[in-house]
Symmetry: C2
């Protein structure tokens, strides 16, 4: 195995978490880490090592009712999840604006485009228009493969769908136009290394 | 009532709050707009006119309990406000990373530094280190004056405080080192025009 370190660590994690999460969450989840958690750790690593400053945005919530009990913290008593109008992650790397979304699928041969919604696609278009670096990180959970696909490719597959074409991107297409990201120990998902390939 | 989407509900809240808070919220609030609302409108204008893509981040919430009623949207039944670990606004302008915080004060002669917390100051330091454009928008609500102050100045005033100096920035200092932003109609707070002054 050529993964940068970590292989043993992952196996230990798998054993520990196998009984808790069960098999339906896939191999990846059996080590107790979601894609989001791995990316949060990666971003923390980037910040601590002074490589980049990238954060996940908070989940957008519509707050309807808040209680203000005396002498204790305000309690939100009624709220709803809202659809995000942007992508989940953004920040700065070498002065450049970085913006991405992360998604996983249980499919093994293609990535369904229904994982994105129109607002997010529109946001990515806008980011590209303004010179930002924009991409998606896609994880195939069945075999725990992670790819980075630049937004320009995602947008062309989205257009293909809007013009009556297929509602997914084949894994072959992702392999051809995207970049495979090996899972590491620290950082777990080293996407910045990939970005260096396509920025000047 | 439109929630879970809830847009109308918020507007009702605004109207309600106008009479609750009354005149002590200043001239500005009497037109029913907060600094945050003005900035949101400004950012929307920038997006629509293809000038920049800048959004306010959602308020960070710690979710404790969620109900999943059958055939209707998930309801958050218990949650708490969390302290933000970054600033509130970020995005992209001419390929550059933009990052800022907006604060208002009722003081007339100085801006208290207690409006910021350590995490935010640390975040701004990091953004500057990575070549991002970082600043604060400060509003003196008494006379409705708005200034943009670059983060490098804020950081030096913060250091002065940490070294035993004054716990605020005088308005004179803000006038001297910052930029006055006249309030307009569209966009209301045209901070991008100011940024053009200090980027290459």
């Amino acid at each position: 195995m050529n993964y940068p370190n970590g292989k043993k660590f992952i196996k230990q994690e798998q054993k520990k978490n196998l009984s808790i999460y069960g098999k339906d969450r896939g191999i990846y989840s059996n080590r107790g880490m979601t894609l989001e958690e791995d990316l949060n750790e990666t971003n923390q690593y980037y910040r601590e090592k002074n490589i980049a400053v990238i954060h996940k945005k908070p989940t957008p919530i519509q707050i309807v009712h808040v209680d203000y009990p005396k002498r204790s913290a305000a309690v939100i008593k009624e709220a709803y999840f809202k659809q995000a109008s942007t992508t989940d992650y953004n920040g700065v790397y070498k002065g450049r604006y970085i913006d991405f979304e992360a998604k996983e699928t249980k499919n093994s041969t293609s990535f369904p485009l229904k994982n994105f919604h129109d607002h997010q696609i529109f946001h990515m278009e806008q980011v590209l228009k303004h010179g930002g670096i924009c991409f998606v990180i896609i994880r195939f959970s069945i075999n725990d493969e992670i790819y980075l696909l630049e937004a320009k490719h995602l947008l062309s597959y989205w257009d293909r769908m809007k013009n009556g074409g297929r509602k997914s991107i084949t894994k072959e297409e992702i392999k051809q136009n995207g970049y495979f990201i090996p899972i590491g120990y620290q950082p777990r998902i080293d996407y910045i290394k990939i970005i260096d390939n396509f920025i000047g």
